[in-house]
């Protein structure tokens, strides 16, 4: 993931200028990884991390290995290129169908697209129950049940799900651990499995550009807002002022 706090958009082509922008692990994914590693610490869960991307995405998987994951898979193939969220989720769901798992954790959303669609789409492809916007997770080994706190705009819900299931995690919910020194030293002793499109058994019209119904009409940098107006008034005057401004803008 390019660090989008440093990325710029080419005003002519409308595409991201990725050159010279450092790659970072997507923050929500890092949060999700921390939840997974906590399940490993507490219940001995076996944690596999999968990403789909260019070959250089291996660097981020090494980081995940240094944080303590057991297995790392990089899904990379020209046939998978140009994928929108639907084609991405089809490919990842295809990879997941070949594996045994109790829980799939994805980040809520990626910092470049901010769609928050891939996680929920994976759940739909696999026909599994899902909870998005997870901010806390508990597991009951006896019943194989996850108790999940889901963030809402004005509060939260507590939901229970039976394994296997899918959750999407929030970066703000958890503080991800640092890579350990020994994890870093041994991160290249483990294999990053490289999977091509042939490993996932998904029809070619469901992956890559062919499987992507989305087309980006236009991308543009956000314009700076003009400076706001400042009024020094009493609280009583402020109420009237604010109400009038809102009326002016037809908000109320």
């Amino acid at each position: 993931m390019p660090d989008t706090t440093e990325v710029k958009i080419n005003p002519v082509t409308g595409t991201l200028i990725r050159e010279g922008v450092p790659s970072i692990m997507n923050p929500d994914d890092k949060g999700g990884l921390e939840f997974a590693l906590q399940l490993k610490d507490q219940y001995g869960a076996h944690v596999t991390v999968i990403t789909m991307g260019l070959p250089q995405a291996e660097a981020i998987l090494r980081e995940a290995l240094a944080m303590g994951v057991d297995r790392a898979i990089l899904l990379t193939d020209r046939k998978l290129g140009g994928a929108d969220t639907l084609a991405t989720s089809s490919a990842i769901a295809g990879a997941l169908r070949t594996m045994d798992f109790d829980l799939v954790i994805t980040g809520r959303q990626a910092i470049d697209g901010d769609t928050a669609q891939v996680g929920p789409q994976i759940a739909e492809h696999l026909d599994l129950p899902q909870v998005s916007y997870m901010e806390d997770l508990k597991y009951d080994e006896a019943t194989k049940t996850f108790t999940i706190r889901k963030q809402l705009e004005d509060g939260y819900q507590i939901l229970e799900m039976q394994a296997p299931c899918v959750v999407t995690a929030l970066a703000s919910a958890v503080k991800p651990r640092y890579m350990s020194v020994s994890g870093i030293v041994t991160a290249w002793d483990k294999e990053v499995e490289v999977w091509g499109a042939d490993r996932i058994n998904v029809p070619e019209d469901r992956i890559g550009k062919a499987g992507s119904p989305t087309s980006v009409f236009k991308a543009f940098p956000k314009q700076l807002k003009p400076a706001g107006e400042t009024f020094e008034v009493t609280p009583e005057e402020a109420v009237e002022l604010i109400v009038n401004k809102l009326k002016e803008k037809h908000i109320i």
């Binding site: 980081e63 640092y178 350990s180 020194v181 020994s182 030293v185």
Partner: protein, 379 residues
């Protein structure tokens, strides 16, 4: 010749920078102001394996390189020199001599505890009357059946009141001079051992610098480390390694002051423009940046030699001499660039200038480093 990092070192640098920025920097001013040992930081460092970076995995360490360890001391010191020296004394002055000179039993007993950070390490050589002339040891160790009995005191001991295990240098046969000096492992709980007064210092104020007191301190025979009568050599070899750690600390302080000064001189406006736009600022800063980079290369070369089993005594002395004097120059000028604000505790360069001074003094003064370098030159 290859100046590039390994993939592991690159990833390590990414991690330690983030750790220093998020976990260490926010506490630096408070630790200094309150003269408080940052135990919570040490616990966080222990959790991710920073207390045992170059210790081999069979002794519970991370199995990393000394280059990585040097990076850690540098990056921690860049934001907090106190935290840098805690790690340096622990690793270079306590774990390293046990690793390099200890018996297999001593390594198995102490290294896993030190590497995991369960125990903190320290080193005692300096005495009130044995500073640069370290051969004038007055602490004595006498054999008594299955025990050694230690009497005397050590001063200026980094990590003193927080350490669990100490490498202690003492005279075992005064008639033999430096050949009558031996080294011992002392534990905090040993009978007759106690911590004396804590120093009030100019800089690195969060590190616990204390006196150690031995009053008929009885330790088992198997605590003697290295060959009997070779303790002076063990101490000098330990300091050779320690000096690279302190060189990295000085380098970190210098880099931290550069970071602050670049930021400040770009923001600060006088006579209608940023002071970074004045050629005086640019030329002085260019000279300082060159010295900082040169210091870094000396530090890395010394650790490279240590990692590759090459001699590093003179390299360590040069790295420490140059990095320490660079740190003092950079921080002094950093305060000057900050003007009146730089003299206040509102800006970190005031602390950095106080912290830098000790790097010209401990683990061998700059004069001692010149003696070591000249000794090699004129041998």
């Amino acid at each position: 010749m290859d100046f590039s990092f390994t993939k592991q070192e690159e990833l390590f640098l990414q991690m330690i920078r983030e750790f220093a920025e998020k976990e260490v920097k926010p506490l630096a001013a408070e630790v200094d102001e309150e003269e408080r040992f940052p135990m919570e930081t040490v616990e966080k460092m222990a959790k991710i394996g920073l207390m045992g970076i170059p210790i081999p995995t069979q002794y519970g360490g991370a199995g990393g390189t000394n280059i990585m360890y040097g990076m850690a001391v540098e990056e921690l010191s860049r934001v907090c020199a106190t935290t840098g020296v805690i790690l340096s004394a622990h690793t270079s002055l306590c774990a390293a001599p046990i690793l390099e000179s200890g018996t297999e039993e001593q390594k198995m007993k102490y290294l896993p505890k030190l590497a995991s950070g369960e125990w903190i390490g320290a080193f005692g050589l300096t005495e009130p009357n044995a500073g640069t002339d370290a051969a004038g040891q007055q602490t004595i160790a006498v054999e008594d059946g299955d025990y050694w009995v230690l009497n005397g005191s050590k001063i200026f001991i980094t990590n003193g009141s927080y350490a669990n295990v100490f490498i202690i240098i003492a005279m075992t046969d005064k008639s033999l001079g430096t050949k009558g000096i031996s080294a011992f492992i002392v534990e905090k709980t040993d009978p007759g051992f106690s911590i004396g007064k804590k120093e009030k210092k100019m800089g690195i104020r969060g590190s616990a610098t204390t006196e150690l007191i031995f009053e008929d301190c009885r330790i088992p025979k198997d605590r003697q480390i290295g060959q009997l009568g070779k303790g002076f050599n063990l101490a000098m070899k330990t300091l050779d390694g320690g000096r690279i750690g302190i060189a990295c600390q000085a380098l970190g302080i210098a880099q931290g002051a550069m970071d602050e000064t670049v930021k400040y001189t770009k923001e600060r406006k006088q006579f209608g423009k940023s002071i970074s736009q004045f050629q005086n600022t640019q030329f002085q800063m260019a000279d300082l940046e060159t010295k900082v980079q040169a210091a870094r290369l000396l530090c890395r070369k010394a650790h490279y030699n240590k990692d590759h089993g090459l001699p590093y005594s003179a390299e360590a002395a040069m790295a420490k001499l140059f990095a320490a004097e660079t740190a003092m120059e950079v921080t002094t000028k950093a305060v000057q660039f900050h003007g009146g604000y730089g003299y206040t505790r509102e800006y970190p360069v005031e602390r950095m200038m106080r912290d830098a001074k000790i790097t010209e003094i401990y683990e061998g003064t700059s004069e001692v480093q010149r003696m070591v370098i000249a000794g090699k030159l004129f041998k």
